[in-house]
């Protein structure tokens, strides 16, 4: 029988924390080898151009240069983008993955050539010596322009800039507009933002003694080794990534970064090669959150019931498809908000532009629509004269309510409780109109919903292996990319809990494409749900074996025994017990198997009809509510966030510190997205490419986060847990802006990011800035 939880729910330290604190953790840039070369990428000079020719002769002649590669040197320069899914989804979801530029150059970040040289300096000099014949073209930088007939075509492979169109419809909005007592209609724009992990992309590779291209590259998707093998023209068995814990990921290390380049240079030179991107290269190159142009029309009756929500979304996919269709699905299914609305029409289109490519960023399409629909809600409330809390409570989804596709989420929906708790905390004291220093005070709440686990038509699965050692410790093997959220440690915690061991008894060996079972991607807030369940299954199998063996030793039935404190004991009389290690040795002596690998499968569905998405597309959702208090200086537009209350239903906190860490970190991650995080894109050029121009929150920009973490038990992860990683950043941005709105009493200039101090100041003076 199962015992009471001892580790789960506590703040037991993560297995990797000590090494990281003591400076012993090695990251991608911390590996080196004798005879190692340094790799560099030559990027395009223009965001839009036709590549007429490349002359590499001067670069190749430079002493110390060992390889200069262009597209013609890549065995298979093109493939289909894959993100670790186990099936070919097709249906417009997979786009072109091109390694080095040919034909039309689609963005400034396009890779033209690769260089490997004896030193970094020589590699950089060689890049400067490569002569590229460009024919600059006009380009298109706004997806609304890109989808028009006759627009500049971004790619040479497609005859349209449209990546995907999709629609969700429920009821008929057009029939109910005249029944609405109030209609709120607005345009919104959400900025691209950078992940700004402190570790840039990098790593190294070498040929092992059997000719296997071996990489040490941190990646959120180990399964990219298959794509790399295809590019190199070698079997899947000949590309291995012994991956490395990442210094942050947040979706930015979900696409292939350096690994294909390193592999190609290793294949060419047969020497170890290292490549690390500078901060500037990182910000200019890796994919950004999709900028979205959103139009919202929300209709309600005077009693505050929303009866129609019409949304159209244009996503800027940037230069290549990558994860755009998936992100678009997330934006589209979430666009109506976590509200029960009888008539919904959501249409979305994504398009290529000559901007930096767009792909995954924490929240994956959810925060963009969340910003817009939560801005709508406060305007609706005020126009109707209903409180902003009440308007939400009158419309939120409860258990049993369907989403616009008709899918009824089976996990618990805690929105009402979250709203009540956050509101009570935020308004525990009456709001002052102004602070003693004269600044206006504003308060707001916002709610959100976001899936955890991948879209169900991706047929997601994960595998975890455990082996019990003869001294009673446990080796856990899992191909789980650890990006810092405790993705690996929580698996050890689950196994230790289930086998009645201490946390230090279980050690995770992780992230080797060919020696650890593949856990799937560390994306989509899926690892606790997917790999946690796989670890639970593996532990269950081993626990049964242990209990059966112990039953023979103790001569009591299996049902009367439990595991705990490194023992198997009789539940009714714990003094009758046998040490775990004794049982393990007995099992081994009797030919029992001390190792198992188990797989967990998410629900599988078919690829939906994109013209009218119906039914289940996701496993379950996590619900959030953020409360914010700000003070605004009306003379300057400068605001200060005085309080952030971050509410979430985590289902169950498996590790208290890790869960709180996600909720706190998530709130801060998007606290300044709407106002400060501006990449300053100007016609395809990223002006803000370092931390002095691209502003992320520092410790003095944000208050202490007050967390309210509910444990409804209503999730599908282990112990009823839901995923928290991405949902944690979901409803904070509209809460910040709505709090500013509450302080200054106007919606002017607050719908289009970046909502700068200047825009806020002008709003206070009634000056419109578009």
């Amino acid at each position: 029988m199962k015992h009471n939880l001892k580790l789960v729910g506590t703040a037991v330290p993560r297995h990797d924390a000590r090494a990281k604190a003591k400076g012993e953790q090695l990251f991608s840039d911390d590996w080196t080898m004798p005879n190692m070369l340094y790799g560099k990428v030559l990027r395009s000079k223009y965001p839009a151009a036709i590549l007429r020719g490349i002359d590499t002769s001067k670069a190749e002649a430079l002493p110390g240069v060992k390889a200069v590669l262009t597209a013609k040197d890549v065995p298979h320069n093109e493939d289909i983008t894959k993100f670790g899914q186990m099936i070919d989804v097709g249906g417009g979801f997979e786009g072109l993955y091109k390694v080095l530029a040919t034909g039309k150059i689609r963005s400034k970040s396009e890779a033209i050539a690769l260089v490997a040289a004896e030193t970094e300096e020589i590699a950089e000099e060689a890049c400067n010596l490569i002569e590229v014949d460009y024919e600059p073209t006009e380009g298109v930088f706004d997806p609304r322009e890109a989808i028009k007939d006759g627009a500049y075509l971004v790619s040479s492979e497609d005859n349209s800039n449209v990546i995907m169109r999709t629609k969700i419809q429920d009821g008929d909005v057009d029939k109910v507009w005249d029944q609405c007592d109030i209609i709120i209609e607005n345009d919104y724009y959400t900025s691209p933002n950078d992940h700004a992990y402190l570790e840039t992309e990098g790593g190294m590779g070498w040929l092992d003694e059997n000719g296997v291209i071996t990489l040490r590259v941190g990646s959120q998707v180990l399964e990219h080794y298959r794509t790399i093998a295809k590019i190199l023209g070698v079997p899947h068995t000949m590309v291995r990534n012994i991956s490395v814990p990442m210094g942050g990921g947040f979706g930015g290390k979900e696409d292939i970064t350096v690994e294909t380049y390193i592999a190609l240079l290793v294949q060419k030179t047969r020497r170890p090669v290292k490549m690390v991107w500078s901060r500037e290269e990182s910000i200019e190159t890796h994919a950004k959150r999709h900028p979205e142009y959103l139009h919202y029309k929300t209709g309600a009756t005077k009693d505050g019931k929303i009866i129609a929500q019409q949304v159209s979304i244009v996503l800027d996919g940037g230069s290549y498809t990558y994860l755009t269709p998936w992100v678009q699905m997330y934006s589209t299914y979430a666009a109506a908000g976590p509200y029960k609305i009888p008539n919904v029409k959501i249409e979305s289109v994504s398009a290529f532009t000559n901007n930096t490519l767009s792909s995954a960023n924490r929240g994956f399409g959810s925060p963009q629509v969340n910003f817009a629909y939560e801005r709508q809600m406060d305007q609706l409330a005020d126009k109707l004269g209903i409180s902003r809390v009440e308007i939400r409570k009158r419309n939120i989804m409860h258990n049993g309510d369907a989403m616009p596709t008709g899918f009824i989420p089976q996990g618990h929906i805690a929105l009402e409780e979250l709203i009540d708790k956050v509101d009570k905390s935020l308004n525990a004291t009456p709001k002052p109109d102004r602070l003693p220093d004269g600044r206006k005070v504003g308060r707001a709440i916002a709610i959100g919903h976001m899936t955890y686990g991948r879209l169900t038509f991706m047929h997601d699965s994960s595998r975890v292996s455990i082996r019990i050692e003869l001294d009673g410790t446990v080796t856990l093997r899992a191909g789980v990319p650890d990006i810092g959220g405790g993705q690996a440690s929580v698996l050890a915690e689950i196994v230790a809990e289930e086998l009645g061991l201490n946390i230090e008894d279980v050690h995770p060996f992780i992230m080797d494409t060919h020696l650890t079972p593949l856990c799937g991607t560390t994306t989509a807030t899926r690892q606790l749900y997917m790999s946690g369940n796989a670890a639970m299954k593996a532990a269950d199998v081993m626990r049964d074996r242990i209990l059966n063996e112990a039953s023979k030793i103790l001569k009591y039935p299996v049902e009367s025994l439990a595991l705990g404190d490194r023992k198997v004991y009789l539940v009714n009389n714990p003094t009758v017990n046998v040490p775990f290690v004794t049982v393990v040795n007995s099992l081994s002596n009797n030919g029992g198997m001390l190792e198992t690998i188990e797989q967990f499968n998410a629900p599988f569905t078919d690829v939906p009809n994109l013209k009218d998405i119906k039914g289940e597309v996701l496993p379950d959702l996590t619900y959030t509510c953020h409360g914010v208090e700000v003070a605004v200086d009306e003379e300057t537009g400068v605001f200060e966030i005085l309080r952030i209350i971050a509410g979430i239903d985590a289902g169950k906190m498996v590790n208290k510190n890790s869960c709180e860490g996600q909720v706190e970190g998530g709130a801060v991650y998007h606290s300044l997205w709407a106002t400060h995080e501006d990449l300053q894109w100007r016609n395809g050029i990223t002006k803000a490419n370092n931390f002095s121009t691209y502003i992320i929150p520092t410790s003095v920009d944000i208050p202490d986060i007050e967390t309210i973490i509910l444990e409804s038990g209503g999730g599908f992860g282990p112990y009823g847990a839901k995923g928290v990683g991405e949902p944690s950043d979901n409803s904070i941005a509209p809460a910040v802006i709505n709090a500013i709105r509450d302080a200054i009493g106007t919606d002017l200039n607050l719908n289009k990011m970046p909502i700068t101090y200047e825009k806020i100041m002008c709003a206070c003076k009634g000056i419109k800035i578009d």
Binding site: A196, S278, G485, D704
Partner: protein, 162 residues
């Protein structure tokens, strides 16, 4: 090609001689000599991941010319943790308080915390936030990092670390 010069340093208590380029920064010099705990996050003085103690004072090693450190003493997170009780205690407090997520900012953050505490910094969340404000962290939201420094500051005030 190379104009390397020799500099004598005391790094983590050990006398060493590094060969460095005249323009090389201390970050590169330390990393080229296997001090991997000194992280490179931006190499422009903006993120704080490369912080070390130079003659007891916290500096961003990417903004410090290696050649100018000739004859000086440097401690990094790893070295100091093995030799200094307060640093070891702060490292452990980071573990206990859940202050470590990806861990990339952690060595630099600990350097900032150590300097704050060694200069008599109190258990004052606002002051601690200012002390670490030159260090970026994208994972934690800073809360649990402040918790750890606060906890050790309290222990010092209570005499527990005397």
């Amino acid at each position: 090609m190379s104009n390397k010069i020799k500099i004598n340093l005391k790094v983590n208590g050990e006398n060493v001689t590094y060969e460095v380029e005249p323009q090389e920064n201390l970050l590169r010099a330390l990393r080229n000599n296997f001090n991997w705990d000194v992280k490179c996050g931006c190499e422009a003085g903006e993120c704080g991941t490369c912080s070390v103690l130079l003659d007891g004072k916290e500096v961003k090693s990417c903004l410090t010319l290696a050649a100018a450190c000739d004859g000086h003493e440097i401690w990094t997170d790893k070295g100091l943790g093995l030799n200094d009780r307060l640093t070891a205690r702060l490292q452990e407090a980071f573990v206990e308080c859940g202050s470590v997520q990806c861990g990339f900012c952690t060595p630099g953050m600990i350097m900032a915390g150590v300097e704050y505490l060694k200069n008599g910094g109190k258990a004052d969340r606002k002051a601690i936030k200012y002390a670490i404000s030159g260090h970026l962290c994208r994972c934690t939201g800073y809360i649990k990092i402040v918790d750890a420094i606060y906890k050790v500051a309290e222990e010092i005030e209570e005499g527990a670390l005397a």
